[in-house]
Every structure is written in structure tokens, then in C-alpha cells.
Symmetry: C2
Subunit: 289 residues, 2 copies
């Protein structure tokens, strides 16, 4: 049985991720009371009815009163500004963390406001499935065996970092530590870039004059490849803008690779094509076999 | 019960596709006898032992004796030359077809040799799963509900086309008619391009200094997106070379789409990004929902 890490946990944005974290932490005995904050009372009422939170508040000032941990779990586009707003309003003893898909823009907003990422802030990102959304899909098991990245800084208070680590461990998550910059580079390459490529491919096909005939001839490989193009356009717009720098670098790197393939096709250079395909297959088999 | 369409069917290359076609046609009563041809006696012995074929022959001249239909089911790189060799050797009463992934290069090889695609040739392409290979994986059910494209020409003999249509219908396949050129454009966009993109992405990541850390942080979306990068490098080398023209066009079209995304990210143009993502999501939901 875990001991209580936070007496009063506040979740800003009680959706799939925030709600699941609240449920998992509560079930593990890692938190005392859970309060939820959101813009819409109806969403909070749903979270209350589901037992995901015990208190609800739509006013941020009142929501922050007396809590010892704040988790920012709103959509990406609100995370950076909300992080600044929260840090300005709470004492340094309150640990503030988040679950947003991009870390660099939040670190930058904090640095702009406070000169650095404050010691009581621990930036985080649980890499959990995003096929569903909303508090109704929340589950205490969502993070079991899932990766959670924590991007602590040199100045991060060890106690704050340890508390957030303990909170996530209580959910069954698998923790990874890295810098905000490396996080954004890696996620840019492994998640954001593939989403853009899938969106771009489907958009390209849908622009063709006979697109219905074309889609009718797609198979299982295409279905798997483009599954992520069914993701929420608003969310991916915000991630693309928030992680613009790393994402543009990843696109450029990918474009170079594609240009080389194009050249080898133009030159009918079979051996070079096969070598590149074999390199990719070997890497995939090794790392994801 | 189907009536016999061909008294003696010859399969050149008795692997997954050729073997499955033989089994399905035999089971449906659509063919009398099935003969297999291949370069290696051991493969033919396996096909004989499995009951996929009833006769085996490694000599092409002898294999062609007395057959009324020839199906070229070898790997893509051998299909065009073998098609020419076969057509030169059989009377015009013998129907010749194939199952290769690219059609234009075979049509071009025939046109170069004979002035046009001969009337007894029906170019075909069953779009069936390629995760497995080899005759041991062959099954009479492989084509049930799967799409088979037949690219007949103006000069194709109606009787030859009808016979090949009947042969595929006997396997339970869903037939689509189109030109060889349109086939190659569509498959270039829906199959060959996605394979190249998946290979390019995995190759790009595997070129990074910390590629092990990067792959360790990939999730289910990445796994689905890159599944086709586990495909056979030799086969995709040959498809890329055989369909070079249409594939280069598809890459160029995709590159333009990607460049637009890049510009919108550079400009932090959220609305334009969201519009493109939404267009792609809507197309995918509509056609593959």
C-alpha cells in the first residue's frame, strides 16, 4: 500500500488523461482528496457522478486554494498559459506538473515569465493511447505499463521530482527521464512527424479527381498506415504549432531521406533501394520485433 | 458447381499467390489439372506434397506443353521477361495472365516485343495480403472477398478475358477492371508510396545517434504506421523500379502536400493546418470508416 503523496490533488481538465490519473492515484492510496477544475460545469458534474473527482470548481483561484499538487491536463493549446497562471498563484511549496504532448513551449513560457522553469514545476508527458477521449473513458488502469516521460531541469526541487515520480509509479507507469528538448525532438520524430505524414498522404489522395475509386482499392497496409490520420485535427494543429521547431527539423530530415529514395528510383538503382529498405526493416525488426 | 474453365492450368512460380490460386480453382472445379513450374525442384516437391499442384516441371518448354492457361506468379522482377518468353512459345489459343504488383512494365515489354499486348494476354493483380509467403502458406480461401484487378486492353480477346474473370470469380474474389496505367497510378499512391514513406521514416530514425532511445519511446501509432516497413526489401526494390514513373509522380505530389504543411507550421498557421488535417480525417472516415 502506497503512502499518501499529496493530501489534496487538483486536476485542471478532467478528461481521459486527467481523470485516469486521478482514479489511479486515488485507487493506489497515493492521494487524499481529488479536486477537479474545468471551464464547463457539465463536464465536472460528469466527473463527480463517475466518482473520478470529489470536488469540482470552475473558478481557478478557488480551485487552487489549499491544494499541494496541481496537474495541468487540459488540451495542449491551453497548457503553457495555464501553467504560467497557476505558478503565479500558488506558493512554491505546491508541486505543479502537466501531461501535455509538447514540453519545450511550456518550458519557454515559464522561462519567459520567471527567468527559468521554477523549482516546483515538473514537466511530464504520459504516452498513452489517444483513440478515446473524455472523462467517461477514464480508467484507473490506463497507465499500467505505459511510458511516462518526466523532463526535470537542473533547478527542479528534488522533493518535487520525487513526489511526481511516486505519483506516476502509483499508477503503474514506466518512467523515463529526459530533457524537454530531447522529448520534443523524439516525439517530433516518432509521433508528430508520422501524424503529419499520414494526414498529408490521405489529403493528397483525397485531392485526386478519382479519389473514391482510389480509396476503394486500398488494403490493410494502407488502413494501418493511415490510422493516425483519424486523430483529432484540433489537437494535432495545436501540437504541430507548439512543437514547430523540432517538427520542422524532423520533416527536413525525412525529406532528405525521401529525396534519396527518389533519386535511386530515378536512377533505377535497385541495390541502393534494397539497402535502404533492408536497413529500415532490420531496425524495425530489432526494436519492435 | 462451376464448370471447368481450363483443362490444364500452368502456374509459373508456385508460392503463396500462385499456390492459393491453384488450390482455389481446383477446389471450385474450375480447372482440370494443375501443373507447376519453378526454378527449384525442392519448391515444386513441396507444392506436390501439399497437393497444391499435380505435376511439376523445371523446364519451361516442357511445362508449357498442352496447357490452355498460364499464370505467371513469380516475383515481380521476373514477370515481364517471363511473360514475353511464354507468349513467344504458346499458341494464341492459350490464355496467359499474371499476378504481378505492377502492370505497366509488363505491358511495355509485350508491346516492345509484339507491337501491342497480345489478344490472349490478360494482365491481372490480386491485392492480397503479403505478410506471409511461400507455398506452405497457400490457401484455397486466400482470395475470398479480396480485390483482383484485371487490366484488359481494347484488343484483348473477349473469350480470354471472360475465362480469366471466371477463374478469379471461382476463387471468391471481387473483380475490378481498369487500365494498366490507372492500376499503376492507384497502386503507386495507395500501396507503393506508403511503403516508401514507412521505409524512409524508419531509416531516418535508425540514422539518429540515439536511435535505440528513440525507438524505445514509440507507441502503437508508430507501430501501425511502420508495419509495412517490415515488408520484403527485395520485393519492394523490384516494385519501386518496375513502377518508377507512377511512383515518382506520387512522391512529387506527396512532397508538395508536405511542403504546404511545412509552410503552415513555419507560419504558425493553425487554421490552415487544422483544415488540412480535418480534410484528411473526413476522407478517411468517409472511405474507410
Amino acid at each position: 500500500m502506497s503512502k499518501v503523496i499529496f493530501e489534496k490533488l487538483l486536476i485542471l481538465g478532467v478528461g481521459l488523461i486527467g481523470g485516469s490519473l486521478a482514479m489511479a492515484a486515488k485507487q493506489a492510496g497515493a492521494v487524499g482528496e481529488v479536486r477537479g477544475w474545468g471551464r464547463r460545469q457539465s463536464s465536472l458534474d460528469e466527473a463527480l457522478a463517475l466518482g473520478v473527482i470529489e470536488q469540482a470548481e470552475t473558478d481557478l483561484e478557488r480551485a487552487l486554494e489549499g491544494v499541494d499538487c496541481v496537474v495541468i491536463a487540459t488540451p495542449t493549446q491551453f497548457a503553457a498559459q495555464l501553467m504560467v497562471d497557476v505558478v503565479q498563484r500558488v506558493p512554491a511549496s505546491v508541486v505543479v506538473t502537466d501531461v501535455a504532448s509538447v514540453k519545450g513551449n511550456i518550458a519557454a513560457a515559464l522561462t519567459k515569465q520567471f527567468g527559468q522553469v521554477p523549482a516546483n514545476v515538473v514537466l511530464g508527458h504520459p504516452i498513452a493511447g489517444s483513440e478515446q477521449s473524455g472523462v467517461a473513458a477514464a480508467s484507473a488502469d490506463l497507465f499500467v505499463g505505459q511510458r511516462v516521460i518526466l523532463a526535470a531541469q537542473e533547478q527542479t526541487a528534488p522533493a518535487a521530482l520525487q513526489a511526481i515520480e511516486s505519483l506516476w509509479r502509483a499508477t503503474g507507469a514506466d518512467l523515463h527521464a529526459m530533457s524537454a528538448e530531447f522529448h520534443d525532438q523524439v516525439l517530433g520524430m516518432t509521433s508528430h512527424l508520422p501524424h503529419l505524414l499520414a494526414y498529408a498522404l490521405v489529403a493528397y489522395l483525397s485531392d485526386q479527381p478519382s479519389s473514391s475509386d482510389i480509396f476503394a482499392l486500398t488494403g490493410g497496409g494502407f488502413r494501418d498506415f493511415t490510422r493516425i490520420a483519424g486523430s483529432d485535427p484540433r489537437m494535432w494543429r495545436e501540437i504541430s504549432v507548439a512543437n514547430d521547431k523540432a517538427l520542422l527539423e524532423a520533416i527536413s530530415g525525412f525529406e532528405k531521406q525521401l529525396a534519396e529514395l527518389k533519386k535511386n528510383i530515378t536512377d533505377s538503382n535497385g541495390p541502393a533501394l534494397e539497402a535502404l529498405f533492408a536497413q529500415a526493416k532490420a531496425a524495425r525488426d530489432q526494436h519492435m520485433g
